[in-house]
Symmetry: C2
Subunit: 214 residues, 2 copies
Amino acid sequence: MKLYGYFRSSAAFRVRIALNLKKLDYESAFIHLRRGDQRQPGFRGVNPQGLVPALETDGTVLLQSLPIIEYLDETHPSPPLLPSNPQDRARVRALAAVVACDIHPINNLRVLRYLHRPLGHDETAVETWYNHWITEGFGALEQLLAGDARTGAFCHGDAPGLADIALVPQVFNAYRYRTLELTPYPTILRIYQTCLKLDAFAAAHPDRQPDHEA
Amino acid sequence: MKLYGYFRSSAAFRVRIALNLKKLDYESAFIHLRRGDQRQPGFRGVNPQGLVPALETDGTVLLQSLPIIEYLDETHPSPPLLPSNPQDRARVRALAAVVACDIHPINNLRVLRYLHRPLGHDETAVETWYNHWITEGFGALEQLLAGDARTGAFCHGDAPGLADIALVPQVFNAYRYRTLELTPYPTILRIYQTCLKLDAFAAAHPDRQPDHEA
């Protein structure tokens, strides 16, 4: 398997965690998003969207982080990343989707760049935008986690799964803008700290990737 | 089952299609997003995110359209909305995610409103934004569909599934802004037209909902 990623992409970070939890070996191709590697014809041939991650496996290319992780879970069922009961699976997928659909895409590099140019906003306005969507999403997520007895050491029960895989990169991103106060989200922060103590999460961290830059 | 929705919400539109394809009866609660019903405490108790859809079933509330649809597919397997092979399932989920993660959230009502206020953009700038993200997403989607032999009458083969369910509401939205030229996306348009000929899609259309407004 070959993972096309970028150390700072939180969607690629998710797939790295899943690969590590499944103890799967993989080769890496580093697509430098700030330099624009994703817009080169070579990579557009891999993913016409020009986004990472993409996972090459068994002669095909899989796109989109959550579908890739569901694929890994279906083809390598142990340890499971989703519970067995349909209602619980729906809960875990929804927690992941709050991050993957309602926070992350709006704060993605390409969107922040569009706010700078052509829209002409300065760093402060972009940071306010960024913090606004995290605040909206984390407020709901905190309630969904703190108010549900199914939340355990992790988002769902006492083993890490799909929701934790989505949550951790988003919290990491939130920390990058120091102006955002995260104390209103104690459950989110507790789970984040718990996850980072696991090798699978720690080894997937942006700071530990070969293409990491300060 | 009770679906909290809004005629114009494309995420609620998706769930309506899935319920229809599965031939499941449901009750409707209409949350008027333009009037702000989603921010009332009553609905925040159903979904702390203040977004639709939400599906009440078996004493629990399920959130997020794609997780809700996966739940419906797991609990009512016929007709299937995903193929059986893991690689094909990953493809269908990725096609759905291109819409649900990379187009729709950036063009959602709450985001367009934020561009108006506090950011102060006029209708033209907002429309340009809207069209930009559809163009980015549809360009990639057209390639992923037209360039893959697994595409059939529908996004994947000759039966409608999760990818079509995500695609149709997005094309409907794209048509709402008349400035967007959709002829560069012949495969997308062909599948859209094919879907709308099916009762399950036609009956889920915003124009046919009891809460529809001109």
